[in-house]
Amino acid sequence: MNIDFILDVLGTGLRMATPFILAGLGGLISLSAGDLNISLEGFMLIGAFFAILGSYLFESYVIGICFAILATMLYGLIFGLFTIKLKADVFVVGIALNLLASEATVFFSRLFFNVRGSFSDPRIVGIPNIHFDILEKVPMLNELFNDHSAFVYVSWIMIIVFWFLIYRTPYGFYFRAAGEHPEALETTGIRVNKIRWIANVICSVMCGLAGAHLSLGYLKLFVEDMTAGRGFIALSAVIFGGSNPLTMSFTSLLFGLAEGISLRIQNMGIPSQFTLMLPYLTTILALVFRAVKKNRKVSLLTSIAAVETEVKGEKL
């Protein structure tokens, strides 16, 4: 265990956490607005595919990112149409959209590129890495924070942006109100469905960015089902971290680290399945912990209420 190894694992963890943070921020908004979008996975996959398509057609990563955002917004339109307009069950629509994304991207890659499995081409331009000259002289920070793909830094800025959006603008309040007390929000004259649509669009865009990062960030290729459960890890981070972008991002970071560690120890021949399990297990434990705490509170409240009525009864 030398210092280089630790730095390497930490750096990989930072990189691995980026899609979780980006998609998680989107999922967080949609959760606080009341529709838990379980198809983050599908949205990311759509984003990843169309980023590659755009970059391939126009040889520009900017257009690739635009393609990803547009495609996921269109996909979000389907989600919104069914959940908000047609009032269908969020989970059913989520499952269907996950399946649709995994099948549709395969179908499109057959149609546009005439390949199955994976597609890469020299025409595809990836998102560049960013190099900070100032960091070069700092020994440890240089290895940790320098030369990541641009989206890694974008995701860190986004955390702050989302924190401001949620806690320092009225919209953050509207989102939470739309999720927790839609009737109360309606009485203040704000249309709940409008807020839900906005949340839906934000979620789609963030998932599009996460997908673009996956396909254009380091690899510059599209692989069938390349999200490989990352959407569900982002979902775990959202459920674990709640509606606070800071705790959500910290959780994402830990999950990214778990993935980074698994990658490294897999290369050393140690089974990595148990570290890969960690995000899911921690989510379940967090759910149980929260539920137990809530139950205790409820039973405490009922017992207090019981005592109070007893006291009142004696007085009478």
Partner: protein, 355 residues
């Protein structure tokens, strides 16, 4: 009488949704410049053309029926088991390990042992989220989805390390013994006997749903848990029972996949069956008879895809897109029926006002 009427009703609406999906598919084919008529003819002739094609269809349907029943039993009782995929994998690895570790047993002992091991593992896999739900109200939708990944990792570890077949690619267990293979129903057209298990399971669930006390309680809970509780039903206990039966069926699915068709375990052997089962059950509205019908239609789409590609040049992956779009059509269909019902109601009210 009422039961059969309801079955017929749900079957006709399913046919409607499938026709809508096929029209949607035809539009896509026209857009990409292929002939839909030719493609659909090829699909049906490939999937239903001769006896061995039909046998192939049965083989694909057997796991689908079981996995759909697994979702149906739980959701009928108002508890959602989306963990079918993980539970199938748990069951499959149990069956595969018992199947290859024990040798020299007669077939009538070995196969029941494999199935028993599989259903026990499946039941454990479903009992965990079920217990968390009824004891602490932990949302089972999320916990079962998360457990899918946990069980996948766990079985992947088992298939890669302790029980790995070193002569084959990674993540595979050795083939099961001859005595752990389900016998063929008809050898020369490759019809496996697993389909019988699917039919029997569907019949048993149909009987439980419609002719037993337990089925009635489940239905009550599914429709309105509070009312059921008020009426003296132990909701927690009955939902737990539903979850365990659901896990049993997933385990059985795993056993059928290993002993009935693949004869070994590999990573993500459950493949599409877990989620497809959910879709089939949703389409069939948890009705076991409709589940059998929908499973066959699903399998026609999946098996016919290759024919569509070879004859009409339509990428076979289009069927996947269509089947995923199907579930969206169902939610749409329900919305349409709600609107019509409302309209009717309004018309009635108007007439009353006029009188």
């Amino acid at each position: 009488m009422k039961n059969s009427k309801r079955t017929i009703n749900s079957l006709t609406s399913i046919v409607g949704v499938f026709i809508a999906t096929m029209i949607f598919g035809a539009v896509i084919m026209v857009v990409i410049g292929k002939n839909p008529l030719q493609a659909y003819t090829a699909m049906f002739s490939y999937a239903l053309g001769d006896m061995s094609a039909i046998a192939n269809l049965m083989n694909r349907s057997m796991a689908l029926i079981l996995s759909a029943l697994c979702y149906a039993v739980a959701s009928n009782a108002g508890i959602y088991n989306l963990g079918g995929k993980g539970q199938i994998e748990l069951g499959a690895i149990a069956a595969a390990v018992i199947g290859y570790k024990l040798v020299g047993l007669p077939i009538y002992i070995h196969i029941p042992l494999c199935i028993l091991a599989a259903i026990v593992m499946g039941m454990i896999g479903a009992a965990v989220p079920g217990y968390l739900r009824v004891k602490w109200k932990v949302d089972e939708v999320i916990s079962t989805i998360m457990l899918n990944s946990v069980f996948f990792m766990f079985t992947s570890y088992l298939a890669n390390y302790p029980f790995r077949d070193v002569t084959r690619w990674s993540g595979t267990t050795p083939p099961v013994a001859e005595s752990a293979k389900l016998p063929f129903l008809i050898q020369n057209i490759d019809l496996r006997s697993g389909i019988i298990l699917g039919f029997v399971a569907a019949a048993v669930i149909y009987w439980i749903f419609n002719y037993t006390n337990q089925g009635y309680r489940w239905k009550m809970i599914g429709l309105n848990p509070r009312f059921a509780q008020y009426g003296g039903v132990n909701v927690a206990k009955d939902q737990m029972k539903a979850m365990i039966v659901s896990g049993l069926l997933s385990g059985l699915t795993g056993a059928v996949l290993v002993c009935g068709s693949n004869y070994r375990f590999w990573e993500s052997i459950a493949g599409p069956y877990g989620w497809d089962g959910v879709l089939v059950a949703m389409l069939a509205k948890n009705n076991p008879v409709a589940i059998i019908a929908v499973s066959f239609v699903f399998s026609i789409f999946k098996n016919g895809a290759l024919g569509m590609e070879q004859v009409a040049g339509v990428p076979s992956d289009l069927t996947g897109v269509l089947l995923a779009a199907l579930i969206l059509f169902i939610t749409g269909r329900e919305f349409v029926s709600i609107i019509f019902r409302k309209r009717k109601h309004i018309v009635l009210v108007d007439e009353k006002v006029k009188q």
